[in-house]
Symmetry: C2
Subunit: 439 residues, 2 copies
Amino acid sequence: MNIELLNTGSELMLGRVLNTHQQWLCRRLADLGYVVTRQVAVPDTATDIQSAVREALSRADLVLVTGGLGPTSDDLTRDLIAQLLGKKLQRDDAVLDHIKELFAARNRPMPKNNEVQALVPEGALVLANPNGTAPGLAMKVASVVRGLAPGKSQTRKRLSPDPSARTQDAKWLVMLPGPPRELRPMFNAQVVPLLRHEFPLDAPFVCRTLRTGGIAESLVQEKIQPPLAALVAAGLDVGYCARVGQVDVRLSARGADGGEQVREAEAIVRKIFKAQIYGVDDEEIETVIVRLLTECKLTLAIAESCTGGCIAHRVTNVPGASAVFLGGFVTYSNEAKQKFLGVRAETLVAHGAVSEAVACEMAGGARLQTGADFAVAVTGIAGPDGGTADKPVGTVFIALAGASGTVVERRTNAYERETFKQLTAHQALEMLRRQVVSA
Amino acid sequence: MNIELLNTGSELMLGRVLNTHQQWLCRRLADLGYVVTRQVAVPDTATDIQSAVREALSRADLVLVTGGLGPTSDDLTRDLIAQLLGKKLQRDDAVLDHIKELFAARNRPMPKNNEVQALVPEGALVLANPNGTAPGLAMKVASVVRGLAPGKSQTRKRLSPDPSARTQDAKWLVMLPGPPRELRPMFNAQVVPLLRHEFPLDAPFVCRTLRTGGIAESLVQEKIQPPLAALVAAGLDVGYCARVGQVDVRLSARGADGGEQVREAEAIVRKIFKAQIYGVDDEEIETVIVRLLTECKLTLAIAESCTGGCIAHRVTNVPGASAVFLGGFVTYSNEAKQKFLGVRAETLVAHGAVSEAVACEMAGGARLQTGADFAVAVTGIAGPDGGTADKPVGTVFIALAGASGTVVERRTNAYERETFKQLTAHQALEMLRRQVVSA
């Protein structure tokens, strides 16, 4: 089965926004055992959208189209697809009522523009949008549109006249609204059941991702390729995905033996990398930390200089963080380090703010001030300026204070500012994770 | 001129990573006056990559391919494109030396796998990679490959035999490494000059984006469309891009009058939205804040409950933030609010932690503790749990303390946790911005 994803929007082509739909929809589909075979983004112009839809329908069984269902003049998807498929647009009163209610609930007048969002191509399934004004639309398209010609009159007669008639090889075209907070619940609640019903999987699919930290991508492959060779020959699929400081190993297989193959492969990889595996599937290190601390009834404080709140931000992205996270300090200045964390003036003078000694006093101070079981502290040089020969940009000291004392690590994370912050945050949380699991 | 972007990687199709290349490359090109007409992502399989490259070359003048130049077995781009274009791969000793040096500098042995990264298709330009092992590759392809057939023998004879021969309608195929920290400097330093040389713009291009906050997308259009109509008729292009709480208005035009058209349009839009425009082009609110505070020699402290460090993290993403940001507190618990910010127990008892009164005391306390000119404080319910009838999930109080007193706003940001945090951070910084510019 082929699935294609078509993201429409000139703002994508101009680089004004990140295409988060691609990752989210691809991952959701992969988790369900479906694979997106191609993703395409085009600007909001008639020829681009229509030719991309036509091409996608010629290859794929399911085409997901995102964006262009809004109320403004550059929202063309609905009209263009209806035109391409030779379908009339008809006002749907239930949809219009819903839009009016949404504006009423926000105490705002409904702009005239929004009325176009109640237009529905004839025969389309309306996917209700509880989180916004634009409904989604799902249309069954007879597979003979493979030869879809550009002309409207030509295409009209090729279409299945009744979308409720189930032909075995029909294709589906699903249009979803652009805002993620509208698209995601709509996909989960309405598209997934449709997908499962119309395109049932012919073989079970199993997938497991192991997330490693601190090992180079080529080394990861060099270590696991030979022991996994027999399983790969039997059908196991192994993929690698490297980010700064991390490599994900994705193990997947289809068929009756797939589950067993993936389990065996996981055991082999775990035996090789042991504690260097910090999580599975889409677990972030902060999710692992909040789960581990919650399970162990332990609490955490965080003192940040160069990461500037990044560690606290990531930890508090996890629902339930409030149960384990007692307090955070962002202390850029020496004064703040002294006043709020009790770092001593002598230590600052003797070693400088970016030093092992200051990191340790920051961690100790944060732990003491909050009464937390653990405190992590970082002090370093995020750049772009501030480096010296001894301590170049990217130098960072990460300290972890606990009941059994304080440990500290020096790292050189020579990346631009934001990558530096994220990598340092990952390392600090990973240091804590290893301490908690080994305790 | 048509530019297509082809992102290769099964990890993209599986949703394991975000395609940040699309946004970055599209924006860089748009800023330079070039527009990407189509972006495609395909998995790391021979048929998918080759058919996508063939199709892109049939439509576009420049095809940028990202990813698949790494050392592992799923890095196939180099081989497949060489095969498709009928080019032999040859070891480049300078590239191999560079790879060896990189490993030596990191004190790591070079895995045998990395040797494949020194293979270069005959006639290709090597784009040096100071930040990683994979060089980029640029290949001139005669436009007659428009009819590129799948067979190798067929394609070989269609190619321009000498890539240095400049035919007027030649196409370029540029392969870039996947890691952003390698791709971006390579694009800026080596691809941009190539692009300007090979594809000079035939008319000047001017583009300006005005970023608004707190106005619905349909209302933005309703207000500016009529006054901009004459300029649009004369060639001005107006685009909208909505995110939670924000709408960007992008004004662009080509040709000799383009600059004047965009300037006139900007004046019209500014007259309508005034202070609701917080920035231009790709300026984030935090960038504006750091710039304004630096210019005015003012300092900032931040006290966060429900945003958990998000505001501090965003402010400290801006280089130079250390000059204006004195300190941040992440005080989830009542104890932390009392101990570090001086929030009174009576206030917590009388009004609850999520209240106007507590937000004000947090801001006042943070200002007092740090001696900052301004302090922003937020307290609210990020969810998914913790809401009540009076204060549902999404309720937040944002306070701003300054020399002239403390102001507070109540908002209902009923979004999931991470959107809630980002939107609240934006609103808090926006409140500060308006205060600073009106002072």
